[in-house]
């Protein structure tokens, strides 16, 4: 298995299945609560994060280990001009593993080259966020096998890194991808070609209602205000890409609606009460999945 967890692209289907199984074993009451006693992780977050950071801390604590972190980038030596490479070499001397979030794409790959301990990528700019992808897959797999499912992706598919990584992983399972994105926020052409080269069926739709009744999974991503020139065009777009109870009248009984969170109006609060809504469970699944990753790299 891998020493570092950098990109979902580094993993075979077999390795992903193995990690999901492992996460399942930590998602019970009978796991070893002292598995990582005496181990220490360093959380290096050079970008804001609430749930990723907290769930890594939670995962470490549940396995008996401890976490150290810097409170803010402003307080760190980065403002003194230290390179990430140097920071990583220094922190490698303190901790048994490093969890890194950084605004630059490829930062985690670079860190893994300079670290003497395992590095887990917790998001690098618009690049990869492998623990998110694994928890997305884990949540789907709790309800259905991943093979050959119909997955709809709705929202900002251009900048949404979680959507790109998940689509890549699903291509390993023969899933079909249905994309629904506002003009200008469609899946980038290179990613579309890459998925099709891998044999994935990718169908682009203009309106979610065209396809929603066929879906097994609907993955909704946040549409950010700053992608639009003004409030009016943002409002127009978000109102036509909003999931409401009315839209869900004819969907499959087992439909899962997922969202990496935080959401900002893409899913009506009234949907939360419907059996399709699994985004809070998905968020909670971040803990066993990250327990599996931490245990894997430090055991």
């Amino acid at each position: 298995m891998k020493n570092h967890i950098i990109s979902i692209r580094d993993f075979t289907r077999r390795e992903i299945d193995y990690l999901l199984e492992k996460a399942g074993a930590f998602d019970t009451r009978s796991y070893d609560r002292h598995a990582l006693d005496d181990k220490l992780i360093a959380l290096l977050f050079f970008e804001p994060s609430t749930r990723t950071r907290m769930s890594f801390e939670t995962a470490m604590a549940r396995l008996g280990g401890k976490s150290i972190s810097v409170d803010s980038v402003e307080a760190s030596s980065i403002v003194k001009g230290e390179t990430l490479a140097d920071t990583i070499r220094v922190v490698s001397g303190y901790a048994d593993a490093i969890v890194l979030r950084h605004p630059k794409e490829g930062a985690a790959r670079l860190a893994s080259e300079f670290a003497s301990v395992p590095v887990i990528n917790a998001g690098d700019g618009a690049g990869q966020h492998p623990s998110q992808t694994l928890l997305d897959l884990y949540t789907i797999r709790q309800s259905m096998p991943l093979d050959g499912i119909n997955v709809g992706m709705l929202g900002d598919l251009r900048y949404g890194r979680t959507a790109h990584s998940l689509a890549h992983a699903l291509s390993l399972y023969g899933a079909a991808l249905h994309t629904i994105a506002p003009p200008g926020l469609e899946l980038p052409a290179n990613i579309l070609h890459d998925l099709r080269d891998r044999g994935m069926e990718v169908i682009q739709h203009e309106d979610v209602s065209d396809v929603i009744n066929e879906l097994d999974v609907l993955y909704v991503t946040r549409i950010q205000r700053e992608r639009f020139p003004d409030s009016a065009s943002f409002y127009n777009v978000t109102s036509s890409y909003r999931i409401t109870p009315e839209l869900l009248g004819g969907v499959q009984e087992h439909l899962l609606i997922l969202h990496p969170l935080p959401r900002s109006g893409e899913i009506d609060a009234a949907v939360d009460r419907l059996p399709y809504a699994r985004y809070f469970e998905q968020s909670k699944n971040g803990v066993p999945v990250r327990m599996a990753l931490l245990h894997e790299v430090m055991q």
Binding site: L84, A85, P103, G106, L110
Partner: protein, 156 residues
């Protein structure tokens, strides 16, 4: 037919005593080859350039002759990106001392700049850009971006 009216055959540039002749460059790429080699009007080498000359093998080709400079392997590798059929002839005392083809390496380090402004290789970190060379183009091993067209403009 008188001697004056005969068409001039052969190349119009003379042999060099020592240095490098790059032959069979993809037609039209000679100036990009010079750019890759860092040769501008202000450098000291004597350079001869022939573009779009007839070639049995290629139809048309470019040739570059550089006096008193023998190309190193890293330089040759860079040329391979835009002129994969190029042949490098190292000349000493008017004779071909060594003849070699160019080979596109599987991994390019520090040769092309990643077009992604957000890529970690475009910062002050102590790391070289690293691309794997695939049929579809060049793939950045740090940020997953691709260079599929106009590779010459990305060469460092």
């Amino acid at each position: 037919m008188t001697e004056e009216s005969q068409p001039i055959r052969g190349l119009l540039i003379s042999p060099i005593r020592s240095g490098t002749v790059i032959d069979h460059i993809t037609a039209g790429e000679a100036l990009n080859v010079l750019k890759i080699l860092g040769i501008t009007g202000s450098t000291t080498e004597s350079i001869s350039v022939a573009t779009n000359v007839a070639s049995h093998r290629m139809g048309r080709k470019d040739i570059v002759k550089i006096e008193n400079r023998e190309l190193r392997k890293e330089e040759v590798d860079r040329i391979a990106l835009i002129a994969p059929q190029a042949k490098i002839n190292i000349i000493r005392e008017y004779r071909v001392f060594e003849k070699k083809g160019v080979e596109i390496p599987k991994i390019l380090r520090g040769v092309v700049r990643c077009p992604n402004p957000g890529c970690i290789t475009n910062t002050n970190e102590p790391v070289e850009s690293t691309f794997e060379v695939l049929d579809k183009g060049l793939h950045c091993l740090y940020c997953d971006w691709w260079i599929k067209t106009d590779i010459a403009s990305h060469i460092i």
